[in-house]
Amino acid sequence: MFEITDNPIDINEMVSKVSSPKAGGIATFIGVTRNFTGDQKVDYLFYEAYHKMALIQMEKIGQMIKDKYPVLKVAITHRLGRVDIEEASVIIAVSASHRASAIEACHYAIDILKDLVPIWKKEFMLDGSEKWIANRPKGNESK
């Protein structure tokens, strides 16, 4: 249910993973590459992971979600390497018997993933510059 891949992520596969006859709703979050940061134009993003620890932390997030919300299944896949504009870098899918839990748990999942999972993003700009990015510290609203 928790994976890191070098390949494009298939949203249908993510939904299938969390499908359940007890589910009344499945919420998904798809993180995609946008073509700007501030006033700079982005060419593409590049992701690198501490693979082993990233999987440990993703499993932990799965447990944190289940401790906090009445959900059925949680699946998270993060892509590594080059991710072009409009392509997905991460997909989260959560099923629950009731929609509110699925939606809230999915929101919580992406927020804590950004805090905990040791994956790093480098921005490659159209002007040829490149820069490693740090997510904002915990508790900051605008992630």
């Binding site: 992971a49 082993k52 620890m53 440990i56 870098s89 991460v90 950004k114 040791p118 790093w120």
Partner: protein, 81 residues
Amino acid sequence: MKVKVLVFAHIKEIVGSEVIEMDLPDEPRGSEIISKLVDDYPDISPQKHSLMLSMNGEYIGWDDLLIANSEIAVLTPVSGG
């Protein structure tokens, strides 16, 4: 105590390798790894205070004791998602 320290992303680029071997006094604390890393690679010093440590895949504090034969890593603030 000999320790292998894993590094990633920006730190890996500065160091030029993803593993650093360090010889530390016995019963080292996390902060000794950070200090040695910054001494050996001064280009890391602007980021010193944002660095985090992990042992066997779990975050640890700078003050925590390092356990022999653990997998230790120095991490910059993460930016997945």
